[in-house]
């Protein structure tokens, strides 16, 4: 059945993005038109790409096409298989939401900022992402990969008049190039083994790689992809770069751009490198645990709403890596069924995180749009003027905390189940690693819940803490529709998971040669099971239904009771002092204080209190409080590294005397050495 127009729809989507990019550039004189073009064309492209992904899933067989470019090694070869389709679907869901959201969001840029340049980079980014997910040629992949990084750089530094933004952009582009360098070396290694730069030849050569070469390729690719994904300790750029971008771009960056790293891991670790040894899986699992726990611990200390969300991206990448690592280990020890479940857990969490993180960033964008600040200590009480944004943000917060019955719970449940199974399926030290990873996942989940109680509670509840959040208005309707679409996706994927599960069949079929979707569904189609008899089962649909069924009589009971006595409104207890004010409220810093003290070994918190007083120290006139935590990775790892590089560069300066004779001598010596090397072979 090769009749569905997958390729055509895909090409149309690509064309829409390309046309959008140049149309935006062309309309630079008319900002209103540029805004409409920017959002409209992205919406069209997103819808078309989503359609292509659905058609591809319906068709079930990969679609390949290859257009020779005339340049040696390089060809426009695409492979629209299940993995590509899955990531393109994820991208399309986000692209549609962000495009709708941007209609309203970009309005404030009109006549102030260059919307047409923004639109150009935005479309190029979407285009490059689509190509990254479908490219089947190393050169095409690398070019798309680089373009993604450059377009993202253009968008991250959109507010370039701000020094912090430029600094973050620089860090981002440096890390992106280290990552591209690793990728280039990795591809060189595989090209040498496979004899061609087509992915198909890598796949053919994969099983015949020697151990050392396979290990080298794994390390290079893992480095490249984990820099992109923001895995700890390669994460430093992420919390710097994501918050400073415009919010719709932050949503795209955290939602899908970092997922290109996950895509790369799925593509290469399961497909092109042959069966990786168990230690590779262990490395992925351990770094996953580290990213999850440290990511959420750093998130807790943030009171910049968008930086907090950026740290949560690191946490969730960690959770995805736990699933991937478990899948790699299961594959090599001969448990394909478990490997498939772990892989589904990882991929499903990738999709879920893309959706709820995008939702949360868009929510944070609405808050920023209405109040002009990202500082939670100045926010508060926004649930009254912005009820819809608050509701969407709340759903996102519940989903990201992994609470039932929403989608985050389902993928974390699957991750738990695969970690639990790992104890029985493996031997030796690896064995004990699984339950420890499981308990760390529990810690992560609970800390994430604490963090989102803080994020939602401080931002949206109680009284406004600063002038910024006093006279605010709800975001425009288009922004609410964009968020509403993602909110529905969170709820739908949570409650209706068993209907969505078959999508993963072709994915696991492709990567592991096994379809387990049918095994995972029990109890007349709405119960998720782990596939083993008497194993764990869960049904989010029934949980949701059960909550509603139990809710009805409870509400009735209280309603009958409360009707007899009027419910009065009164002031909150203020300890007898007149009038509760915003100063009495708990702050974000105070909320996370117990955890800051408990984990002080990690944070190394420093605080400074200065009190000004006239007569008695007990009646201070003014108190100055300052508190900060130590950025451990920057201080312990990156600063020494930076100093080392600077030191080497200074030494290197000795041979760069500026004398042309010396340079000519260098060139000559290099030539001779190269000739000698070549002639010896």
């Amino acid at each position: 059945m090769n009749t569905l127009p997958v390729g055509e729809t895909f090409a149309l989507g690509i064309a829409a993005y390309t046309a959008g990019a140049f149309a935006c550039l062309a309309s630079w004189r008319k900002p209103a038109l540029a805004r409409r073009l920017c959002c409209g064309m992205a919406l069209a492209g997103g819808v078309l790409e989503g359609l292509a992904a659905l058609l591809g899933a319906l068709q079930g067989t990969p679609v390949r096409w290859r257009i020779s470019s005339g340049v040696p090694l390089f060809a426009y070869s695409f492979n629209y298989d299940a993995l590509a389709g899955f990531f393109n679907l994820t991208l399309a869901v986000l692209a549609v939401a962000i495009a709708i959201y941007s209609f309203g969001y970009l309005k404030e840029f009109e006549n102030k900022r260059n919307i047409s340049l923004f639109g150009f980079f935005y479309h190029i980014l979407l285009l490059a992402l689509t190509v990254v997910f479908t490219a089947a040629n190393a050169f095409l992949f690398l070019i798309a990969w680089e373009v993604t990084a450059l377009a993202a750089y253009g968008l991250v530094t959109f507010y370039h008049e701000d020094g912090e933004t430029r600094q973050a952009g620089l860090l981002y582009i440096i890390m992106a190039h280290i990552d591209a360098g690793c990728l280039l070396l990795g591809f060189a290694l595989l090209t040498q083994a496979g004899g061609s730069v087509e992915f198909a030849s890598f796949r053919a050569a994969g099983p015949h790689l020697s151990n050392s070469r396979q290990a080298a390729a794994f390390v290079l690719f893992f480095l490249a992809f984990s820099i992109k994904a923001g895995v700890i300790p390669f994460h430093v750029w992420l919390p710097a770069a994501h918050p400073v971008a415009p919010s719709n771009i932050s949503a795209l960056l955290s939602g899908i751009v970092i997922k290109t790293g996950i895509y790369g891991m799925a593509r290469f670790f399961f497909d092109a490198l042959g069966v990786l040894p168990a230690w590779a899986g262990v490395v992925v699992l351990i770094l996953g645990v580290a990213s999850a726990v440290l990511g959420v611990l750093y998130a807790l200390m943030e009171h910049d709403l968008k930086r907090l969300l950026a740290y949560h991206s690191i946490e969730n990448i960690g959770i995805i890596l736990m699933g991937l690592g478990a899948a790699l280990i299961f594959r090599v020890v001969g448990h394909p069924q478990l490997a498939a479940i772990a892989l589904i857990a990882a991929m499903f969490h990738t999709l879920n995180h893309a959706i709820f993180k995008c939702l949360l960033f868009l929510g944070a964008g609405s808050v920023l749009h209405s109040t002009g600040t990202r500082n939670m200590e100045k926010l508060g009480g926004l649930i009254r003027p912005m009820p819809v944004t608050a509701f969407c943000f709340l759903i996102g917060a519940v989903a990201i905390s992994g609470l039932p019955p929403l989608n985050g719970f389902v993928s974390e449940w699957l991750t738990y189940q695969s970690l639990l199974a790992g104890f029985g399926a493996t031997a030796g030290v690896t064995r004990i690693l699984f339950p420890i990873a499981g308990s760390m996942l529990a810690l992560t989940g609970a800390l994430a819940a604490a963090c989102f109680v803080k994020a939602f509670g401080i931002t949206f509840l109680a009284l406004p803490r600063g002038a910024e959040s006093r006279h605010v208005r709800e975001a425009p309707r288009s922004m609410l529709i964009g968020m509403g679409w993602l909110t529905m996706a969170c709820i739908g994927l949570g409650l209706g998971v068993t209907w969505f599960l078959p999508v993963f069949d072709s994915l696991t079929g492709q990567l592991l040669g096994l379809r387990v979707g049918a095994n995972l569904i029990a109890g007349s189609g709405f119960v998720l099971s782990v596939g083993t008899p008497h194993g764990g089962t869960v049904s989010t649909a029934i949980i949701g239904l059960g909550l509603l069924v139990l809710l009805a009589p409870t509400v009735l009971l209280i309603a009958i009771r409360a009707r007899r006595f009027a419910r009065r409104h009164g002031p909150t207890w203020d300890c007898g002092l007149p009038g509760l004010s915003a100063e009495n409220e708990y702050t974000a810093t105070a909320f996370s204080k117990p955890l800051r003290m408990i984990f002080s070994a990690l944070y190394q918190p420093r605080r400074e209190i200065q009190a000004l007083f006239d007569v008695s120290p007990y009646y201070p006139k003014e108190i100055h409080f300052e508190s900060e935590i130590e950025p451990a990775f920057e201080k312990r790892l990156y600063n020494p590294l930076q100093n080392l590089i600077l030191w080497i560069s200074t030494r290197m300066r000795a041979i760069q005397a500026g004398s042309i004779h010396a340079y000519l001598a260098y060139i000559f010596i290099t030539l001779v050495v190269l000739l000698l090397l070549v002639s010896r072979q």
């Binding site: 609470l403 089962t537 409870t554 006595f565």
Partner: protein
Amino acid sequence: MTETLAKSGFQLLLLLLVAPLVSGVIRTLKARLQTRRGPDILQPYRDLVKLLRKGMVIPDTASWIFPAAPYVVFVTAALVGLMTPMTATDAPLSLFGGVLAVVYLLALGRFFLALSGLDTGSSFGGLGSSREMTISAIAEPAMMLAIFAVALGANSTNLSEMARSAVSQSWRFLAPSQMLAFAALFIVVIAETGRIPVDNPATHLELTMIHEAMILEYSGPYLALIEWGASIKQLVLMTLLVNTFFPFGLSSGWSVSELGAGLFFYLLKLLLLSCCIVLVETTNAKMRLFRVPELLAVAFILGALALISTFLF
């Protein structure tokens, strides 16, 4: 379908009725052990009835989160109760959520309760929420390790399967791994239900309160819902402890005679566990907040030892 509904109805009734009783028994026993007379064991029912009859005051600063939270707390606790085997090995809704769903549904209730604490705008609420989320976060890894140790024995996270496997080897609790896991889970249950030495349910002193600080602004029927929900949660956690480790007397079917016997043994086991809790509460003083992590670290280590010993023995 109708059978599941009938079982659910029965178990729901049991939950709603037994939960306040357990709180009452603990309170009375504790008073007796401290040579006080104390309230009689039916006092919690009277409290609930009285609260349900009262009017309520809603803080001016509160949003819809404040009235929503009591419902979430109550409903999640009740639903979790239906997934847990109480008198019979097969719980009515155990197919639809195992021990992970139980832990996370309780976390959902806590999430909303903590939000309601922040919603009032009082510093007490924020203080309570902050502490509650902190303690639950550090209790969670220990809890999960202990649960893993038990789930590995049963090869399932489904609570009915876990109970069935416990019944099939009823002396398994003597295995070192099970004893260690029980100890770990016992500490976690103490922390999760807010009992001494972690929290004092009877205090209203700002320096020490956790749960009470969060719900300070609630009154009337909403307070009743929260109190009732909290006692159901306590009952469910205690049930998990007694039925997964000591499955004696769990009935395998739902006939009237089996249920009677099951109920008798269940209440007996609860009484014994209540005695243990009372002993712990009476012989310990409440810990300083920053000592609690040490206690939970002990639970974590016990859980890890439990896991390691599952493959040593």
